[in-house]
């Protein structure tokens, strides 16, 4: 019973991280109609930059949260540059855009290997969250609970942004019908840059707050990208609720799959995605069929 409880909490924590990663992926996919194959690299870049800021850079030591914010801003700026300079060159060619994101992910992976080497970097849990919480016989690390809270807060903020602000209304309009949104005077191409930067920043933030749990290593990008893909296909692209529900489902499938059928973990993970693709191609809460 205790095992199940611990597994459940771990699943929700992992689901929270996945939500931060996949919310941006889903919005980018919804708006620009491209699966952004750099998303795993953005997660990894965030983790590496964050780890460097925490570990000290040019005699500067940053607090965990400041480092996380800095890394997120840096990667958000990188995302904006990629969108402006590269994807912008290929309007209306989704295939070419996918290929460019794939090429950038190769370059990012090699860049990380060059700068930070092949050894995994362990990031210490922030000191004030290093404790444990006891609930009966089960013991939960405080940090994992904090990650759940952070993910919830960001989910709420994103929901308010999308549902209550003018910018959010424009993004939703762009997702539902980009051509009609242009006709009514929304500058959809400007939204592309904003959403790409936002998604990149969120992925990087997920990378660094996930670092004390997952650690940072070469290949992290390849581990995370398929998960984001599964979440978005399950939940449906362009839908925040879809990413949220999808992330929690995938968090559970992943953790319980690893524990119960370690040999078939990936199979268990990808089967539901395949079923959704075949039976309900728009995903559980999707706004359109890719």
């Amino acid at each position: 019973m205790t095992l199940w409880l611990v597994l459940a909490v771990n699943s929700i924590t992992f689901g929270g991280l996945l939500f931060l990663l996949s919310a941006g992926f889903s919005l980018i996919f919804g708006l620009m109609r491209i699966p952004n194959l750099t998303h795993g690299s953005l997660f990894m870049l965030g983790a590496y930059f964050g780890a460097t800021f925490i570990g000290g850079y040019l005699a500067l030591h940053f607090d965990f949260w400041i480092a996380a914010l800095l890394a997120a801003l840096l990667v958000a700026a990188f995302g904006a540059v990629v969108e402006r300079l590269l994807l912008r060159q290929l309007p209306g060619q989704p295939l070419a855009q996918v290929l460019v994101t794939l090429g950038i992910s190769f370059m990012a992976a090699d860049f990380c290997l060059l700068v930070w080497g092949g050894d995994p970097i362990n990031v210490a849990t922030p000191a004030h969250l290093a404790g444990f919480v006891r609930a009966g016989p089960a013991v939960f690390p405080l940090y994992r609970l904090a990650v759940i809270v952070i993910a919830m807060v960001i989910a709420l903020a994103l929901w308010l942004l999308l549902d209550r602000t003018r910018l959010g209304a424009m993004i939703r309009a762009g997702v539902d019908d980009p051509d009609m949104a242009r006709v009514v005077g929304i500058r959809v191409s400007q939204l592309f840059t904003i959403v790409f930067a936002l998604g990149s920043g969120l992925a990087a933030f997920a990378g660094i707050i996930g670092a004390p749990i997952l650690s940072v290593y070469p290949g992290l990008d390849q581990d995370m990208l398929p998960l984001a893909l599964v979440v978005v296909i399950l939940g449906g692209s362009g839908s925040l609720l879809g990413s949220f529900v999808g992330s929690i489902i995938v968090g559970f499938i992943y953790n319980f799959g690893q524990a119960l059928f370690p040999e078939l973990a990936y199979f268990v993970l990808f089967m539901p995605m395949l079923l959704v693709l075949l039976l309900r191609p728009q995903g559980l809460f999707g706004r359109f069929v890719p």
């Binding site: 295939l95 996918v98 090429g103 190769f106 973990a265």
Partner: protein, 320 residues
Amino acid sequence: MTPLRLIALAIAALALATLPYWMSGIYYVNVASQILFFAVFALGLNVLAGYGGLVSLGHAALFGISAYATGYILQAGFGHTVAIIGALVVGVAAMALYAVLSLRSTGIGFIMITLALGEILWGLAYRWISVTNGDNGINLHGRPAPFGIELTTATAFYYTTLVVFALAVVMVAIFVRSPLGAALKGTRDQPRRMNALGYHVWAIRFWACLFSGLLTSLSGILFVYYTQFISPQTLALTSSAEVLLMVISGGAGTLLGPIVGAGLVVIVKSVVSGFLERWNFLLGAIFVAIVILMPEGLVPGTARLWRLAWRRARGGGAPS
């Protein structure tokens, strides 16, 4: 075919046939073998991605499944003939399953489903350790000896690969000129009109998938006999992306393009990596540069620049 092309083809064929005699060192002969079997792989993907407009990001898993099948059948104690035929059957059957699942959609949807299928197969190879031996992979012992010719030397293996490669080129050339090939290009450009004309779009795409699967299996078998080893890394997304890079960089939808692309990628991977550690970065940069600067690929792109320069040199009228 113009005389100029015929001469170029004859020179290329002669150069390939005599390669082990003028290429110094076993290493480079081996690199040439790699280029040739990866070219067969790229030709296979090109049938779908180039002529069919169906971009698969899970093709390395099909390549890998044939390689694993070869390994298993040999381990079970059967001979090389059974192994090769069995691996072809397994590869084409896997492709048929792939096709049934992924041909429900086209465009980005097709990419996502093939990506998912590729990841499933990779995940099985990687984690189902009791069956696949996980990351340690499967080792092969020995190469086949068709008609009593041992393929243990680099040169002998090179010629075997060259024969399969030539066969693949001829098969693709015939396919492209056949009614089925023409219909496939029709379904790529105007699927609805093809449907209205009475063509069975799904069936045309399905047959193209099977043909692509056959070439992919052939190259997978050559690969596993070449390396004598197969591990999950071969099935990973990076491998699928690499073969797609071969097709796109050379020129999708052309016969020569994937071959040039295979040469480019293999040379960057195995030769440039010898003196430049950051070859993966270079590969990514080439990818981005080609997509942005020469989206049609090296072969059609160079041909276009060449025609432009030719016209300029002759002082002719404005390029059409």
